[in-house]
């Protein structure tokens, strides 16, 4: 019984920690401390497969990065985790999400780019069924 209560308390605590007013992030641009990635790094404004990215610099390198489609709708939350760091025992726990509903997740290798130069994994959470197609190009 005590164990069950502890688990319930932990889950409640976690849900409070992750809960946020997702309507504030629904359309581009999200408020500070988020910055548009292409404003601070030499990258295209719209990245095929990821969208127009915003990130809170304090959360680099993992993110979350918020990916918006061409109409400015939040379509994906992306994490970038350097493989070397993972191998060295670094864990990226309790990362926030841009939107609570996740339709599908893609995980793939990326050789690097400005901002996250070391080879890393992209973890892409698509927030609705057509998000992936809207972000494709």
């Amino acid at each position: 019984m005590l164990k069950a209560l502890s688990i319930t308390a932990c889950l409640l605590g976690a849900s409070v920690a992750f809960a946020h007013d997702e309507s504030k992030l629904e359309t581009m641009p999200p408020a500070s401390p988020y910055v548009q990635v292409s404003d601070v790094l030499p990258l295209p404004a719209f990245l095929p497969g990821l969208g127009t990215l915003f990130v809170d610099p304090a959360t680099l390198p993992a993110g979350p990065f918020l990916g918006y489609d061409h109409d400015g709708k939040l379509s994906a939350t992306i994490y970038m985790t350097p493989l070397e760091e993972l191998k060295n025992g670094v864990a990226y726990d309790d990362l926030a999400v841009g939107k609570h509903h996740v339709e599908s997740v893609d995980i793939y290798y990326n050789a690097g780019h400005p901002g996250v130069e070391k080879p890393h994994a992209h973890v892409v959470l698509h927030h609705d069924a057509s998000a992936k197609a809207r972000l494709a190009k």
């Binding site: 295209p44 095929p48 497969g49 290798y109 050789a111 690097g112 130069e117 992209h122």
Partner: protein
Amino acid sequence: MIMTRRELLMVAGSALLAVNMPVLASGQPQVLIGMQGTARGERVWFDPLGLAVKPGTALKFVNRDNGNSHTVTAYHPSLFGHVRRIPEKAEPFNSGYLLPDDSFELTLTVPGVYDYYCLPHEHAGMVGRIVVGNPGDEGWDDSAIRAGGLDDNVETAFPSVNDILTSGKTRAPGLT
């Protein structure tokens, strides 16, 4: 005129390059080098990876990767503290970040071996080698091939000077 096997292969290599060689307004041929990557960025590379040119050839690097930015950066102590891997008498070069469809023009005149890399993608082995002229040319400097100072995965990414001179150009593994 009797051509040596190497000279014959150089001519053949030059002929292959001709399909990738527009002509400048001045009439001088310009050799293109693409900066490329897969759609999701799993692989990035210079194409060609290794290239043989005559001294004074105009080179143009073009970013053909829609989802990434790249640089053309010489291995030189004045640039990010790298060991020198270009001829001692050559000027170091650095394009800065090139967004998709941006380009960078470069002309190399000192005979020898020039190694360069992409700043955000060196870890991924995105490097290139240009051989200007031929061994025996006055001022030839191939100290790059003995310079060391790189991680193994980067060092092994360079094609050999002999392969470059033999074929005129080499491409990244897996490309035909």
